[in-house]
């Protein structure tokens, strides 16, 4: 596929330039920064929209761009998009203006905030687009910085602890991955005589079986921390709870997906043998995460923490689907990434709106809010059900694909994971009940303001996406499936693995 202009590079550069533009506006014009940022973040939305429409329903990388950066190390500016990355890119571009739009409460150093969010966007998109391991790593690390600032500056009380923990924990994971990346490049050097960190080239040559194990391990560790997979999840509640709303939304919506994306992009295709051996372990961690995250979520007294732990649970599903190694499981893993981004992102938005109004996140402080804020209650309930996995809303599509898909290869795990569905119901509906139903428990709760226009708009957009994806997921699935099928085919070719039959060739 040839294109006239480098759309992928533009996708990365546009937010960067946006950040620069915002930075150039004088600090005293603080009222301009946020609207300007939102406006600028619509450019990537447009680009991603075009990309989405123009994307052909085939496997392989499209819109690829290739420019040599430094031949001595075999590092290239190699970008491309396929069915795994496309949905996440679209999600990213959508969530950025959303999270900016609800950040009206940020009045301190607005300019820096907007610039950081845009920088973060560039980093996130870069991760999804990079087809060179080094470029990937660069973006993978780069996203830490703006998020670190976002949590650290605009977070709540223990923001510093949370920000540092977030940074160090995830950096630790990726540090070892860097060793793996280096080893991959040098392994290619040994195998073919040319040093390259090009993903496509390395994938083509393949990785020696003997070194797949530890490479799998270091990559998996990096991604497991990012996902986060039990027991590497403890940075997440802290980061989420302390982060400002925009931070939580982007963290849950996109940053966590960097991990699941990494599994799909690197672990499976590059280390197929090791993947096969790791399946029981990864699946076990995933399932434990599903149950554990949900169980811990139930008893959280803090609404935001509850949603955070729900992410642990949901992301466990994605990992389970990934390592089920069936077409349904993989499809589910990809689309669930988007779904979780939308629904959990929306829940974080709502928690943020609550916090903005009541300056508390403790569930016990709320009560009977539905009376004063029926719209908010409605949206919260809607998002909760999306998150619970109610058929017709997007969450179901992903979870169902994952569960059914993983049953074929991991029946016991799948069945155990299915109980997570019940637990999700418990923690979300219980939270809803305590927060929104009953008579208002205090003056503040009785007099709380309902949603504003911009909030309704944002939530409506997300709701529409949730509904569309819930009822007609093929809008994404059709673009995902060729890629995931190709991935499985690759597994079959390079290993003795046989994808279990099942499913018509829709």
């Amino acid at each position: 596929m040839t294109v006239d202009f480098p759309v992928l590079t533009s996708l990365i550069v546009a937010p960067l330039l946006g950040a620069v533009v915002v930075a150039l506006v004088p600090s005293r014009r603080s009222e301009v920064h946020l609207p300007l940022g939102i406006a600028l973040s619509m450019i990537p939305v447009a680009l991603a929209g075009w990309l989405f429409v123009a994307f052909e329903k085939t496997a392989g990388f499209q819109f690829a761009e290739f420019t040599e950066i430094y031949s001595g190390w075999g590092v290239n500016w190699h970008l491309g998009v396929d069915g795994i990355s496309l949905p996440l890119i679209v999600l990213t571009t959508i969530l950025v203006p959303v999270s900016l739009a609800v950040s009206g409460a940020i009045t301190d150093r607005t300019k820096l905030f907007v610039a950081m969010v845009l920088l973060l966007e560039a980093g996130m998109i870069g991760v999804f687009l990079a087809l060179d391991l080094i470029v990937f790593f660069v973006f993978f690390e780069l996203v830490l910085v703006p998020m670190y600032f976002i949590i650290g500056i605009w977070g709540s009380e223990s923001r510093i602890y949370a920000a540092v923990k977030f940074f160090l924990y995830t950096a630790f994971g990726s540090a070892l991955m860097l060793a793996g990346i280096i080893a991959l490049g040098l392994g290619n050097l040994r195998a073919t005589g040319s040093l390259t960190f090009d993903y496509v080239a390395i994938a083509e040559v393949g990785v020696a079986v003997g070194s797949q194990w530890w490479l799998f391990l270091v990559f998996a560790l990096a991604f497991a921390i990012k996902v986060p997979l039990f027991p590497f999840h403890t940075w997440l509640p802290d980061a989420h709870v302390q982060a400002p709303t925009a931070g939580s939304v982007l963290l849950a919506g996109v940053l966590l997906k960097l991990g699941t994306y990494g599994f799909l992009r690197f672990n499976l295709p590059l280390f197929p043998e090791a993947t096969l051996d790791a399946v029981p372990w990864m699946a076990a961690l995933a399932v434990v995460g599903v149950i554990y995250g949900a169980a811990v979520a139930i008893v959280q007294p803090d609404l935001k923490k509850l949603v955070a732990y729900s992410s642990v649970s949901h992301l466990g599903f994605i990992v389970l689907g990934t390592f089920a190694l069936t077409r349904q499981g993989l499809e589910g893993a990809v689309i669930q990434g988007v779904n979780h981004g939308l629904s959990t992102g929306a829940l974080f938005l709502l928690v943020g709106m609550l916090y903005e109004r009541r300056h508390t996140k403790k569930i016990a402080d709320f009560g009977g809010l539905a009376k004063a804020a029926p719209l908010m209650a409605g949206f919260f309930l809607f998002m909760s059900f999306a998150s619970i996995g109610l058929p017709g809303l997007n969450g179901f599509v992903g979870e169902f694909l994952i569960l059914v898909g993983s049953y074929a290869t991991l029946p016991v795990y799948a069945i155990v994971a299915a109980t997570g569905v019940v637990l999700a119901t418990i923690y979300l509906l219980w939270a809803y009940q305590r927060v929104f139903t009953g008579e208002p428990t205090s003056e503040d709760n009785a007099g709380m303001k309902d949603l504003k226009g911009v909030e309704v708009t944002v939530l409506s957009v997300l709701s529409i996406l949730i509904l569309v994806l819930g009822l007609y997921p093929r809008i994404l699935l059709d673009k995902i499936t060729p890629t995931t099928d190709a991935l499985l085919e690759r597994m079959e070719i390079s290993t003795s693995y046989v994808v279990p039959p099942g499913g018509s060739d829709g």
């Binding site: 190390w73 910085v145 510093i160 060793a179 040098l186």
Partner: protein, 483 residues
């Protein structure tokens, strides 16, 4: 016997700096001019040295690598690059620390001259192809630094720093020199060329494995490792970098590291090249110890200058990761030292701007809320901290990547893993600075940068980020320089 024209170009930048120093001194004695005049002289010297370096580069292009002054000096691209780094850190150091020279009053001119002289000394060290030249260059550079460390009267820490630096430095020099003497006794050679052929015959011709050679090598290495502040030869660094006048600390730290690393690189590339089994593992060991110790020390510090000093210990370790990888590490090492030096000078420079040019120490508390009182300084310092930490999109990452790749290729996987884990732990203290500046409230000082500092800062940031994003510019250059 000595072709003067050829030989002069071999030491042209050194010559320019020496002339610059002399000019400063003479002008100061004769006319007692305003500091501004010295500034112009310094600018001319830097420009002249840059021109000289350019001439050297071209000369090597045209006439290829060669030796001069009785095989004392080697003129090659690698040397030019290292000398270039010295010129850059000199210029940046002076730009950042210019305030100091005013504060020093009548000693300002002397201090300026010493900076140039020490730079010239380290350049000699870079160019040296002879143990004696190495020693002399090292001493010219070091003794100047001892004086610079103690040149301020404003704080008692200054002379404490000078004393510590001087005592330990002298012992280290003596140890190095003893190693040289032993090597000479063993081989009969003081030139690297002779040393190289002697060492290579050790492998092929002599069945007998003498212990005098590794002993000599070890003692020589100790002297150089001391200069780059590698553990366990690092103890002077934190105290000196805390106590020395803030305005010049960055230059001191960077220049000594450049000179010593260049010399070390030359030794493992030429003189001791055929003894890899002897020095590789111990250097790797020193690297690991330096990285780990430097990192855990830095984590518990409360003074930014000590943090930078200890981080310098860790960085010495990272450099040694590349050095211990032998020839394949050269590219990474050169890139590392060049970019690290710039970031280091800039970081110390900003510290000097925050705490005052003649100050000793820079307690972290001073940085609380700096992002509000001095957003530019805070932002720049954040970038530099991230660069020192090795964050992608800064030179720090490219540099680390370079040495790690080399070390991995050289079979030192364990070292890379240690270094990687430690570099994550190191984030803890780099980030702490950002925490204080951005996340915590407080009324940090309002820092107004002078012209020199502004220019230097801009250059440093452009280098740090520019080469971090697109390192190819420098890497291509380095690829022509190393072999």
């Amino acid at each position: 016997m000595v072709d003067t024209a050829v030989s002069l170009i071999a030491i042209l930048p050194e010559l320019v700096f020496v002339l610059g120093a002399v000019a400063v001194l003479m002008v100061d004695v004769t006319w007692k001019p305003a500091l501004r005049v010295h500034g112009w002289i310094a600018a001319v010297a830097v420009a002249g040295a840059s021109g000289a370096l350019f001439a050297q580069w071209r000369d090597v292009d045209v006439n290829s690598i060669r030796l001069a002054y009785g095989d004392m000096i080697l003129l090659d691209h690698q040397g030019v690059v290292f000398k270039g780094a010295l010129v850059v850190v000199t210029a940046l150091g002076l730009g950042f620390g210019w305030g100091l020279f005013g504060r020093l009053g009548r000693k300002g001119a002397e201090a300026l001259a010493l900076v140039f002289l020490s730079a010239a000394g380290f350049m000699f060290m870079v160019g040296s192809f002879h143990f004696l030249m190495l020693f002399l260059g090292l001493e010219v550079g070091s003794i100047s630094l001892y004086i610079l460390a103690g040149i301020s009267n404003e704080s008692t820490e200054s002379d404490e720093a000078a004393m510590k630096y001087f005592l330990l430095g002298s012992v280290a020099s003596a140890i190095l020199l003893y190693g040289v003497a032993l090597f000479y006794t063993a081989s009969g050679h003081l030139g690297y060329g002779g040393a190289f052929s002697f060492v290579s015959t050790l492998n092929t011709q002599i069945v007998f494995k003498p212990s005098i050679v590794p002993l000599a090598v070890a003692l020589v290495l100790v002297g150089l490792l001391f200069k780059i502040a590698a553990a366990p030869f690092h103890a002077w660094a934190p105290d000196v970098y805390q106590g020395a006048p803030a305005g010049i600390t960055g230059y001191m730290a960077a220049a000594a590291k450049i000179g010593a690393i260049a010399a070390l690189a030359r030794l493992v590339q030429v003189a001791f090249r055929d003894l890899p089994d002897t020095w590789q593992a111990p250097l790797a060991g020193v690297a690991a110890v330096s990285i780990v110790l430097g990192t855990i020390y830095a984590i518990v510090q409360t003074d930014l200058r000590r943090i930078l000093a200890y981080s310098g210990v860790a960085h010495a370790g990272f450099l040694l990761v590349g050095v211990s990888s032998g020839g394949i590490g050269a590219r990474g090492v050169v890139f590392y030292i060049l970019t690290y030096a710039v970031a280091l000078v800039a970081a110390f420079g900003l510290v000097g701007q925050v705490s005052g040019p003649a100050s000793a120490g820079s307690p972290l508390d001073a940085y609380r809320g700096l992002s509000k009182s001095s957003p530019v300084v805070a932002g720049a310092l954040s970038v530099l901290m991230l660069a020192l930490a090795g964050m992608p999109v800064t030179t720090g990452f490219v540099a680390k990547f370079g040495v790690f790749t080399a070390a991995w290729a050289a079979g030192q996987e364990w070292l890379v893993l240690v270094a990687l884990v430690a570099s994550v732990a190191a984030f803890a203290f780099y980030l702490r600075v950002i925490v204080l500046m951005y996340f915590e409230d407080g009324d940090g000082p309002t820092v107004s940068l002078g012209l020199g500092a502004k220019v230097s800062l801009a250059v440093s940031l452009v280098v740090t980020i520019g080469l971090g994003v697109y390192p190819t510019v420098l890497l291509d250059l380095i690829d022509r320089a190393v072999y």
